[in-house]
């Protein structure tokens, strides 16, 4: 794969990379006929993110000649790529291409004063995340301006692990989820009540209480805020995944899927299971955790021919 993007769009790409760095440790690049898909998944398999950059985002876009996964997909560690996206204001164009035989992905920035900066990042052993296309439609959906979400999250402290959204017809109550509520006598409990009229769309099939990871949710809302996008949050019930979507015109489409806590798990102590990095086996996922992991059986396997 091989593409060139203008300097103005490098910022958007950098923001996506930044957001993903707070979710997972690795970044997956995939070139499709429609454009570039950037994906990541968190270590506990409770959050999956994909940002699709359509063709109009690029000055030039070319998939690999053979259209095989080798030519079009790659995986890299997120740390090196974060480092190269500094001092973005001088970048005029950015060219990205994959050197398959040397297992590298190359980022070349053409900057002001004819400076050419070339960064080569080695690929990690090839692995493929299938695009997660949840075919189910969600019964409930709310749409809010990024400001609504940012104004909610500003009151929560960064050490919060899980956030709880209690959605009622007239209002939404957001709070930090406290494990062992009865026995914990030291954690600050924060509760925010926001009127449902603050959202642009508020369609609830029934009242629901969703509990999911805070850190990843905050990274997603920050991405929406930086790009000034509206956020669509679709969900069904506790234990089922929730989806956050945002788009910028025809050019960028972000989809973030997060697992929510199953109701029964709330009764038991979860401290032992929290935040352990699990060895990832991407094909068959059995739910070993109390939060629904993303089951890749629901995905389209685009690598099969």
């Amino acid at each position: 794969m091989n593409f060139v993007l203008p300097g103005a769009n490098v910022k958007m790409l950098a923001r996506a990379v930044n957001c993903f760095s707070k979710i997972g440790n690795e970044l997956f690049f995939e070139a499709t006929p429609d454009g570039l898909d950037l994906k990541t998944i968190n270590s506990t398999n409770t959050a999956y993110a994909v940002v699709q950059f359509r063709r109009d985002f690029f000055i030039a876009f070319q998939q690999g000649k053979a259209d095989t996964p080798d030519e079009n997909c790659c995986k890299i560690s997120v740390k090196p790529i974060l480092k190269i996206f500094k001092s973005l204001s001088t970048i005029q164009t950015c060219k990205i291409w994959l050197e398959v035989n040397q297992s590298k992905i190359i980022f070349q920035f053409r900057c002001k004063s004819d400076v050419l900066k070339t960064h080569k990042i080695y690929l990690l052993e090839s692995e493929h995340i299938n695009s997660l296309n949840l075919s189910q439609t969600f019964p409930s959906t709310i749409v809010g301006n990024h400001k609504v979400f940012t104004n909610i999250l500003v009151h929560l402290y960064h050490s919060v692990d899980e956030i709880s959204f209690d959605l009622n017809n007239d209002k939404t109550v957001v709070s930090n989820y406290v494990d062992n509520d009865q026995t914990d006598h030291s954690t600050l409990r924060s509760t925010l009540s926001i009127d449902s009229s603050a959202f642009q769309t508020y369609q609830l099939s029934s009242k629901v209480n969703l509990i999911f990871c805070y850190k990843e949710f905050k990274a997603v809302t920050m991405f929406a805020a930086l790009n000034k996008l509206n956020v669509r949050m679709s969900f069904s019930g506790p234990g089922s995944p929730l989806m956050l979507e945002m788009s910028k015109g025809e050019v960028l489409h972000g989809k973030f899927i997060m697992g929510t806590m199953k109701p029964s798990a709330q009764l038991n102590s979860r401290r032992a299971h929290r935040r352990k990095a699990i060895d990832r086996n991407i094909s068959n996922r059995s739910v070993g955790m109390d939060s629904e992991a993303i089951n890749t059986y629901f995905t389209e396997d685009i690598s099969s021919n």
Binding site: K147, I152, H155, D181, T187, T191, I194
Partner: protein, 293 residues
């Protein structure tokens, strides 16, 4: 047992956060003493230390610090409440006001399955078309201190000081003490009726003295009767030797808006620094003299 207080003035609210922030940097636990006419915040003083730091806020006037203030003590005989909480939790609950304005901050004692001090606020944010008003409540778990343990939190209020002198700016003192703390473990403060305050550190090799002039100094002892008056040695100079690191630490952590600082010295025994803030609220710090070489 009941407690409900409301602050409606933005600057009072920010100053309140400053006090709690300062206290959270000194000690882990914060002690809150609710009395009918005032609210006292303290840090836990270690017994061997003798250091005291407390903040007293006058709650008797409705146009003062608190626009509303209602309390009911632990029982009818002892109309006070003593409770402790983690200082950082309180700081987190209030941190939103550091950079944003709120209409009010309401403090209330609530009992869910455990006693909590609830901090409520309403932030008004205009969002293009809509006006967003999320209502926020932070519940800080507190431990109510039983009556028989109240004496551990007594504040030494009866100490008489010899001289009372105005102090130079906190910033100047902070920079000075930062340098002095590396020279010697103790620093001696001298206050004279000539309106001069000196800080002196002595080492084997060198003596470094810093003098501040034109600081109004008055005698602080008040004679109660003729006898006491005769016994009074009218001190024209009072000095006190204190731990440099502790004094430096105080000036590093304090962060108030506009305060009037006064130092009271009890000759060779104790140093008291009083920070008078607005609206009849003040912070008091006592550091006893050290007697080691």
């Amino acid at each position: 047992m009941k407690f409900r207080a409301v602050m409606s003035d933005g600057i009072n609210i920010k100053e309140f956060l400053n006090v709690i922030g300062t206290f959270s940097r000194m000690q882990k636990n914060l002690i809150i003493n609710v009395q009918p006419k005032k609210l006292i915040l303290q840090i836990e003083s270690e017994a061997y230390d003798g250091q005291y730091l407390w903040c007293e806020i006058d709650a008797s006037l409705r146009d003062g610090f608190f626009s509303e203030y209602l309390m009911d003590g632990i029982d009818s005989e002892h109309n006070q409440i003593y409770m402790t909480c983690l200082a950082t939790s309180f700081v987190r609950a209030l941190s939103y006001v550091r950079n944003n304005s709120v209409e009010y901050i309401k403090l209330k004692l609530i009992k869910t399955h455990m006693p909590c001090l609830a901090v409520e606020m309403s932030a008004t944010i205009s969002n293009e078309q809509d006006v967003l008003t999320p209502k926020i409540q932070h519940a800080i778990p507190v431990t109510v201190v039983p009556r028989n343990e109240w004496n551990q939190y007594e504040i030494p209020l009866e100490v008489e000081y010899d001289l009372s002198i105005a102090m130079p700016s906190a910033k100047s003192l902070r920079m000075l003490l930062d340098k002095k703390k590396n020279l010697a473990p103790t620093v001696t403060l001298y206050a004279t009726l000539n309106n001069e305050l000196s800080l002196v550190v002595e080492t084997e090799v060198v003596t470094v003295a810093s003098h501040y002039r034109n600081l109004k100094c008055v005698a602080a002892r008040k004679p109660t009767d003729q006898e006491a008056y005769d016994q009074l040695t009218n001190l024209s100079e009072a000095s006190c030797r204190v731990d440099t690191k502790k004094l430096a630490a105080l000036f590093e952590t304090i962060n108030f808006y506009d305060v009037i600082m006064t130092a009271n010295i009890r000759h060779e025994q104790a140093l008291n620094i009083r920070f008078d803030m607005r609206q009849n609220a003040f912070v008091n710090y006592i550091l006893p003299a050290t007697n080691f070489e």
